[in-house]
Symmetry: C2
Subunit: 446 residues, 2 copies
Amino acid sequence: MKFVVIGGDAAGMSAASKAKRNMPDLEVVTLEATQDVSYSACGMPYNIAEPARVMDDLIVRKAEVFRSKQGIDLRLGHKAVSIDRKNKKVVCEVQGNGQSEISYDKLLIANGARAIRPDIPGIDLPRVMVLKSLQDGRAIKQFLGNKNVKKVLIIGMGYIGLEMAEAFHSIGAEVTMVKPGPRLLAFMPEEMAELVKKELSDKGVRCFPGVAVNSLHNDGPGLKVCASSGDIQADLVLVSIGVTPNSELAAGASLDLGPKKSIAVDRKLKTSDPDIFAAGDCADAFHILTGKRVWIPLALRANRAGWAVADNVTGGQVELPGIMGTAVFKVLDLEVARTGLSFEEASREGYEPVQEMIKSRSRAHAHPGNQSIYVHLVADRNSGKLLGGTMVGKEGVAHRIDSVAVALHAGMSVEEFFQCDMAYAPPFSPVWDPLLTAANQLLKKL
Amino acid sequence: MKFVVIGGDAAGMSAASKAKRNMPDLEVVTLEATQDVSYSACGMPYNIAEPARVMDDLIVRKAEVFRSKQGIDLRLGHKAVSIDRKNKKVVCEVQGNGQSEISYDKLLIANGARAIRPDIPGIDLPRVMVLKSLQDGRAIKQFLGNKNVKKVLIIGMGYIGLEMAEAFHSIGAEVTMVKPGPRLLAFMPEEMAELVKKELSDKGVRCFPGVAVNSLHNDGPGLKVCASSGDIQADLVLVSIGVTPNSELAAGASLDLGPKKSIAVDRKLKTSDPDIFAAGDCADAFHILTGKRVWIPLALRANRAGWAVADNVTGGQVELPGIMGTAVFKVLDLEVARTGLSFEEASREGYEPVQEMIKSRSRAHAHPGNQSIYVHLVADRNSGKLLGGTMVGKEGVAHRIDSVAVALHAGMSVEEFFQCDMAYAPPFSPVWDPLLTAANQLLKKL
């Protein structure tokens, strides 16, 4: 049997490697459009923050290892351009070498997502960059190494934009952030978003929601950015307004699409063609709470889905329940995390949500190093069940959110969550963990 | 109605305060044997580590505040010596002032636990100390301030002993630890306990399991400790071999006792007398997994039980499901945490346990500051359910254990736990959180 994988990053290489482990005599071919496989894309902002490190530090396993140690036929510079489902073939453009056809028995589409570039004049100027692929990361790092970058403008204020604000700030650049929408981190309550804004402004990062960029122009050695608030000078512009799934290949083969043009897959990761799977940032997933299809491209799901595809290609019947949208990021000295549904999402999904935000402390009464920690929980008035959580604080946020995620997976009520026996020691939390305090306050509203 | 509370720390003052909030015209009398109420006992090792801080920093709320702001009749220096259940009266010894009788409608016994002092010659010498009450903490701190303490011997290697090893070490003392039993932290696998032992020895704390102390003697300005391994010189000896519930009062009133002579209570915190409740370190609890009575005195349960008693005294019908035995402590630069049942406990309880220990990392591949993190999980082969977890590492342990605790409360299988959508960002974890990696490995054994 021949298993062909389109895309050589998280989902693709997880699937290729596990399929080969499961069934050593399986023929596995991986087609990767770029020269890079198996790298930690999420690590790029932190790598960029350290000029002394090379970007290739982020490569988890090299192409040669996949070939020689794992026996995967890994073809770099092979960009899949069409799928002939009838004859079960993938057509590739081979870098500088025309086209080639690869037949498959089972196919996995794992070609990820790409950064969105808005359609405005000047968006393709060389100093206007994005960060999605390792090649993007190398380009930014090289640019920072070669040019005198004093002023950076970031368009967008999502996870990556904020992580990159930290990275640019840490290497001494003056950072300005703009986005057209009025709210920073719209999934969280305004009061919490203000904490993030304050952290940015305390560290000197200027942050202007409600500012749209209309055009970008070369201006002497830098750029002039014409924005709704006036002109902004920048040596480098990072466009970080989100990503979109690379689903054109699937759409061209008439496979069903899901939310936001992602590739629709069932719980076995199968597309509408039973011999074709999709996984990673190009594919959708079921939301555990709502049961609906969502497109929330995150690294853990990509890896998990890759493994499941491998199992299913090699004879298994693995079904993934879905995702909770659990995410965490660091911005300067703040940790920000979320899981489940926000209040607005819960309303849209037809729940009758109630919410509570509390401020507590990261350590016990009178313990040195104590920091504020903010917890926002959402529950459903009808069922009493927990629906989601958001946290912000300088410590103790990143791992606490997982407790909420586990509670959501288990379908716990707020009362059940409040009864959980959590760990306490003075260096790590108050006697009542901030999560329990939040649950207790939320209970009063139910 | 008159609600009398015996004991003015976590459980007692939580109950007194909440009862008064629930029902402002309730007469609430609290009888506290010492002069201290409402303090963070768990904070004492950290306070002792900082000579410049006063021990009274750990007082959360002062006696005057309970009296003037909350209207609680708080009587210090009132040691309850007997309960006349027939006439619903408590007899007290009043410091320097004979006896007094206090009648009650509802009574809460929350007089805590005391440090165990083994019956060996010299155990009552002034330089042989324990740490349980705030007065114990003051005595140690005063001793350290007045005497030249170069060598400390700690008898016992539980949480408090280890936290105090850190405290004594941080103020420059040479610390030796002994215990008669052969295993350090017997609830965890030997391999994990070795990590704790290594941390102690790396920092210069000498640790000798399997060494019994036979007697203690004044010897010039210090002490000579006769141990099974030979004589040990010490300027101060801390006896930290555990605590025992203060249940003599309850036993004298013929109330039912539970495990380890703790006071037996039902899920409403009622003793065998329907007008008498017990809560905090003197009382037992139901273990969520086994449904059996256990005595695991920890601060969160004390606070939680105090609140539940207040609700039940003021007309509520609150039932607490019980405890999971979740605990965390810090020893030098290590975080150690546990929840649920250990492998041995699970065997004793009639499960057919399987276990797995994995070593992972606290941060993503190639992220600076990465530390090792060890996860040990136990599951039941018959049901596939998770039974317990233990973790050790230099960061990211304290809050991660709560995810396991929540999963245990929810009765999750290892497979369900493995499917949980956990947070990932490079500064906080690998893509596969160490908990997920451990669950995945454990699944292979089920």
